[in-house]
């Protein structure tokens, strides 16, 4: 891979950084968004710094679109490489205003791929231009940093966990801007993250790193469940579940308060252990999805053998129709099985994506023991409710107390059979449609997002 190929980014670095060994090679298309994913300390950042030239590794090679930046004989210094680099902390120049920060790297000459006005418009910076960086919020700072990198007219944009230092709400505020950037510019981007839900939103290509090595590389959807599920046992930290489904700290530090949420919007199917609630919910949700309703989330289907015994289970992302992960059959006679960690991570992504797309209904399979204990899809469910999106889930009778505690006792709708579910949804959807008719213009951007994702 140590050759320069037009249309590709080729990089290989081998050497010691402190007590860490980097031995990574990658070759990815010089178009679209390439996500570099892996646990903390796996060498993602070192890789990006080597590509940028911020770190010089004697045994290294780097070529972007046929242009050699580093090989055995030569090393192009950072300021001669056409890169944009967004650091984890915005790192704005504190002595310059937002405007002068943005213009710091902008070339004077004409013929730019993106102009100052376009960047200001794209990232919503107009109101901030004359402010000093220390008067900006964390999210605003990071937006300025992204704009500053774009204005230097890079041929490769490196983003090193640009959202990791931000809280959940700020992250959601920035993600749409990032998506706009990726859509507006045909610029190759290296996006470094340990958060699968960010990567899912806009990466085209995924590079998996582990302990200083590249362990997998490929287009996003064909790649990620396999190595992640496989590596879970050896490196507990590499499981995406801990990172993207986790958010445990948020849950404990920030008690959920749903008191300004309309309780009618939250519905739970109350069921007993012998009821086949999975099928009920899946049938209902898939009917809605087929009839063109804007719904998202996950449902599960049981896989039965000829004799009607459950032999496995499969989860379905309602927005894409994609099968998330199929558990190994548990053998005949089994009555329940769970998603494994990688499947759970994907389910979490599916729900998060549905929230981001502002769908009309989020369906999650269950609020059961796992969720009651603070795991599973609990935080995604909380996000959906907090976003004010109608939510439909199922709650086993024995978990009803936990459900009421989770929803703060605001009195959610509890449904028992299909007729009640349909009645609730008809009522809910007609309300949504009335509300939408009343505020159609302001709702347009959300609809755009939804289209982008489904497509």
């Amino acid at each position: 891979m140590r050759t320069a190929e037009p249309g590709r980014i080729n990089a290989a670095f081998r050497g010691r950084l402190g007590n860490f060994m980097l031995d990574a090679e990658l070759s990815v298309p010089a178009t679209g968004v390439t996500a570099i994913f892996g646990p903390s300390g796996c060498g993602k950042t070192s890789m990006a710094r080597c590509i940028a030239g911020l770190q010089r590794m004697a045994d290294g090679f780097c070529a972007v679109d046929g242009d050699i930046w580093q090989d055995r004989k030569s090393f192009r210094p950072v300021h001669r490489r056409p890169i944009g680099y967004v650091f984890q902390e915005a790192s704005l120049f504190p002595h310059l205003s937002v405007r002068r920060n943005l213009l710091f790297g902008a070339p004077k000459a004409a013929g730019m791929q993106i102009t100052f006005d376009e960047v200001v418009d794209l990232l919503g910076l107009a109101a901030l231009l004359d402010r000093s960086p220390h008067r900006l919020s964390g999210g605003e700072r990071q937006r300025v940093a992204i704009g500053r990198a774009l204005l230097s007219q890079p041929k490769l944009l490196l983003m090193d966990e640009p959202l990791a230092a931000l809280d959940h709400a700020t992250r959601n505020e920035i993600l749409p801007f990032l998506e706009c950037v990726h859509e507006r510019l045909s610029l190759p981007v290296f996006y470094i993250s340990h958060d699968m839900s960010e990567i899912e939103r806009f990466a085209d290509h995924l590079v998996l790193m582990e302990q200083g090595r590249v362990v997998g590389s490929g287009p996003l959807h064909t790649l990620h469940p396999i190595p992640l599920a496989g590596s879970r046992d050896r490196h507990g930290d590499c499981s995406p579940r801990r990172k993207s489904v986790g958010n445990r700290t948020r849950m404990t530090s920030m008690p959920i308060d749903f008191h300004d949420i309309d309780p009618n919007r939250i519905a739970a199917i109350l069921y007993r252990s012998q009821d086949d609630v999975d099928t009920l919910l899946a049938d209902f949700a898939e009917t809605l999805a087929r009839s063109g309703e804007r719904i998202g989330g996950v449902v599960q289907r049981n896989i039965k053998d000829g004799a009607g015994c459950q032999v496995g289970m499969q989860a379905i992302d309602l927005m894409t129709g994609r099968e998330i992960s199929i558990c190994q059959p548990l053998g005949s006679g089994a009555t329940a099985c769970k998603l494994d960690a990688a499947g759970l991570a994907e389910a979490a992504v599916a729900v998060t994506r549905a929230i981001a797309a502002d769908v009309d209904l989020v369906v999650t399979n269950k609020f059961s023991k796992q969720e009651a204990a603070g795991e599973g899809l609990r935080s995604e469910l909380a996000d959906a409710i907090a976003a004010g999106i109608p939510v439909l889930t199922a709650v086993p009778e024995k978990c009803l107390d936990a459900w009421n505690t989770f929803t703060g006792g605001i009195g959610t709708s509890l449904l028992c059979e299909r007729g009640a579910i349909e009645g609730w949804w008809q009522d809910m959807s007609s309300r949504i449609k009335r509300a939408r008719a009343a505020r159609l213009p302001s709702d347009a951007p959300a609809a755009l997002f939804a289209d982008h994702h489904v497509g």
């Binding site: 911020l54 300021h79 056409p82 650091f87 902390e89 790192s91 120049f93 790297g105 220390h134």
Partner: protein, 228 residues
């Protein structure tokens, strides 16, 4: 006798002139030195830093003695002086400037070095990723960010030059209009029992010292507020 006698005026002007020139030279030499100390990694860095810091610990008379030897007719100072037909740099204004620069160097290098170190590598890396050459990065990022350090260094360098006594006496002597600066003048007046002149100059120095400390505190405060 009036307060602003020609004699007093002469020594005040000479002191201000000496301190201004020394401070300018100090800033020119200390900036690259501080930059190097803040960024070089290696055992010799600390050795160099210790040599620069020597005047902090050495008695001014010891430093003055060595400087006198160096500046004298048989040292490099005599050789330099021969360029303009002089015989020695000792007991001249130029010699005094050299002495002051050596003596005040640590007070200027240290705050500037700290200011460079405090900002870390990140702003420089950011500038490099924005296509700024090392030269441009230095002038548009490193120096503006280290401004409080430069202010502190300049004020301290100026103040120390004004206040130095032992070293000046050793290498400059007491020549009116050439090397008789304030601190030496006060000593001279006390020696000759001219208490009135001595008290005027001493009072002037007290006010000066107070102003310096006040300015430094205000600058520090402002820097802290800007960093918040």
């Amino acid at each position: 006798m009036e307060i602003w006698s020609p004699e007093i005026r002469q020594s005040v002007l000479l002191t201000v002139e000496l301190a201004t020139i020394s401070t300018a030279i100090l800033l020119m030499l200390a900036t690259p030195l501080a930059w190097w100390l803040a960024h070089a990694k290696g055992w010799w860095t600390e050795i160099a830093a210790s040599i620069i810091a020597l005047p902090l610990v050495l008695p001014p008379t010891v430093l003055g003695f060595y400087l006198l030897v160096m500046l004298g007719p048989d040292g490099p100072g005599g050789w330099i002086a021969s360029f303009w037909g002089g015989r020695t740099l000792a007991f001249t204004f130029e010699g005094l400037v050299i002495g002051s620069v050596v003596y005040s160097m640590p007070f200027v290098v240290q705050p500037i070095r700290n200011a460079f170190s405090a900002k870390g590598e990140r702003p420089l890396e950011v500038a490099a990723t924005l296509r700024a050459s090392p030269w441009r990065t230095f002038w548009t990022v490193a120096v503006p960010l280290a401004r409080p350090g430069f202010l502190t260094g300049a004020v301290l360098g100026f103040a120390h030059t004004v206040g130095e006594f032992g070293l000046v006496l050793m290498i400059g002597g007491n020549i009116p209009g050439r090397t008789k600066v304030l601190s030496v003048a006060i000593f001279d007046y006390v020696e000759t029992s001219r208490w009135r002149e001595a008290s005027i100059l001493a009072g002037f120095m007290v006010i000066f010292a107070f102003a310096v400390i006040l300015i430094m505190t205000l600058v520090d405060k402002r820097a802290a507020r800007a960093a918040a």
